[in-house]
């Protein structure tokens, strides 16, 4: 890891903005796709009368919304870094931590529902839930690959 920057000039800011914009764009697609799949699962579960799963599906849905919101919040990070460069590394570190938290919920509740739906009316929804978990894994890979150096 490189040292915390002591100055953050216009060129640094432009580089950070480009880096973050590219990263946010990379995360937006699987994030939005995951939210869409979860919406479909919620709708199908309701149609199939899977009321027992409603609370857990609502938690997964809430976690997806939080994740998408965090991605947009990070898109603003270079602006904050321009005013407070010392915070840049910790911003990235906290952001990485914050993103993993909703993904933890998506994966955990998703795993439980896959178990619950191994038979019965929920079984046809397992494929969509597995797709959700694959997207969550993809997002985790992308987050882990985020450069940790200061711009």
């Amino acid at each position: 890891m490189t040292a915390t920057p002591t100055s953050f000039d216009a060129a640094d800011h432009a580089a950070a903005a480009l880096q973050v914009a590219a990263l946010c764009q990379t995360l937006r697609t699987p994030g939005a796709e995951m939210a869409a799949v979860v919406d479909r699962v919620c709708e199908q579960a309701q149609l199939r009368g899977l009321d027992d799963a409603a609370d857990d599906l609502a938690r997964i849905s809430k976690a997806c919304v939080r994740l998408c919101s965090l991605i947009e919040e990070f898109a603003d990070a270079p602006r904050a870094a321009r005013d407070n460069p010392e915070q840049w590394l910790s911003t990235q570190d906290h952001w990485r931590h914050d993103l993993r938290t909703p993904l933890n919920a998506v994966k955990g509740y998703g795993d439980m529902l896959i178990d619950d739906w191994s038979a019965g009316p929920g079984q046809p929804l397992q494929d969509d839930l597995r797709a959700t978990l694959r997207l969550a894994d993809r997002l985790l890979e992308l987050i882990a690959a985020t450069p940790q150096e200061a711009p």
Partner: protein
């Protein structure tokens, strides 16, 4: 086997406790580091799952206090964190954690670590 789960995030606490309950563990819960230290003494769990980013007292300090107290120092602690940064594991071990795992939790991996710290003790 009784586990103390110290976790401030409501969703993660609910989800992990339910998954462990399904595997046959008895779960007691604390929502911050201070409560975690208190409950380690009052409930005497077989093992503690300690989130490291906690309010009131963070997981590193809570671990140090549990390991410093005569009544609780024998209880194994697995540190849990959503941070997956180089040095996190060493930082947790230095604080007194017996092992360390990262979130998102892979349940089978976590259970293997629990079993490794409590050999021969069924869930």
């Amino acid at each position: 086997m009784k586990l103390l789960l110290v976790e401030d995030n409501e969703m993660n606490r609910d989800m992990l406790s339910r998954r462990l309950l399904r595997r046959g563990y008895e779960i007691v819960m604390a929502v911050d580091g201070g409560e975690g230290v208190e409950m380690a003494g009052s409930t005497q769990p077989d093992l503690i799952l300690m989130d490291m980013s906690l309010p009131v007292i963070d997981g590193w300090e809570a671990t140090r206090r549990i390991k410093a107290a005569e009544a609780t120092r024998h209880i194994p602690i697995i540190g849990l964190t959503a941070h997956a940064m180089a040095g996190d594991r060493e930082k947790a071990i230095e604080a007194g954690c017996d092992d360390y795992d990262t979130k998102p939790v892979e349940l089978d991996r976590l259970i293997a670590k629990i079993q490794a710290l409590l050999p021969g003790k069924p869930a």
